[in-house]
Symmetry: C2
Subunit: 209 residues, 2 copies
Amino acid sequence: MSEQTIKVAIVEDDREILQSLVAIIDGSPGFVCRQYYSSCEAALDALCSAPPNLVLMDIGLPGMSGIEGVRRLKERQPTLDCVMLTIQDDDDSVFQSICAGATGYLMKNTPPSQLLQAIEDVYKGGSSISAAIARKVIGSFQQTAPSPLSTREAEILGLLCDGDNYRMIAEKLFVSGNTVRAHIKNIYKKLHVNSRAQAVRVALRDRLV
Amino acid sequence: MSEQTIKVAIVEDDREILQSLVAIIDGSPGFVCRQYYSSCEAALDALCSAPPNLVLMDIGLPGMSGIEGVRRLKERQPTLDCVMLTIQDDDDSVFQSICAGATGYLMKNTPPSQLLQAIEDVYKGGSSISAAIARKVIGSFQQTAPSPLSTREAEILGLLCDGDNYRMIAEKLFVSGNTVRAHIKNIYKKLHVNSRAQAVRVALRDRLV
DNA sequence: CGATCAATTACCCATTTGGGGTATTTCGGT
DNA sequence: ACCGAAATACCCCAAATGGGTAATTGATCG
């Protein structure tokens, strides 16, 4: 079962790179590349009517970018895995790709053995991202600045995010509504906001809850 | 420079696993393990006064869990990299660990060669997470359900998240405040909420903006 | 061609919110 | 012993919000 051939499609505008990729894939047992395109426009319909197991997508394509390509592709084929192939690894490209639906993100200079390993990982339900990119993704989960809020304030902010109003919060914390108001005023001052909506946004963004 | 010895500390309560880990690390050129502990309580002070390059931390420890251990450790030594070592890979443990500050997350059955590779990756500023775990982390960035909102509603929800009130939204969109109110009522219905705070929370959670 | 829905406008009214104050108690640090 | 931060509690009042109802226009879909 693990020896099933993995059908890979490639979208890449550089003819040389495309050919060398096809050669690597097609020349390796267990992998086959029968679909390759030089633009998203050319690839989209074909990939939707005859979906491969996995798509290697260049980011820097002329016309529609690989990121937009993935977005369109995933709209029509949500189960199709896409791995970005790129020269730049700037944060923006990484996160945009991931949000667009990419399952992996590889540098173009990845050695063939790792490339094949990555394809196999994705095929098996994993995700192929390099150590450096994984760190960036993980870093986005971790809060850097320490919370400026007191314990009580953080508690109240949490209830604020749940949509509770003064009265509900007061009841849950066994204090008066006036006290809740006083705390919320302090929270707003500390977060430099002046409405619930903004407070919730900051709270979620900075993981204060 | 790449041949510098990496000092690894281990926190693991199972004596056998601990010994085999120490043997692997210490027996490999370029790696050394001089600090090993069977509980977070025992490790914390020692690791802060004589920080290694990297800590391998078991999650299922008696007493303080490895996740809490990482949290405390990172409070005092924010630059110290921690890699979780665990038998379970349930979503909760993964995300809790990452949010607590872990840089990597490995299964205990990871073969020695990959373990050493992972340690080296982290030491070089990367992040060692297995393909399966990377997929979970990446998946958390990707919206699954299509947005139930119309273009206009999504637009207004975005401004709502910015903290704009009716009047400000109305001015930005060149419509009346009453229209904005009507849209917001529809948004609330579709998102099953009844306040701005809840709407913002859902919008950010489901990436509707 | 009728049905439906998105977008738009409008109004009423009770409740909630936010900004401005003031004050007491408790607790940890200097 | 004193100070400041945190937590508690209260006042007034203008503005914003949320729920209800209703009507018009345009586009899209059977």
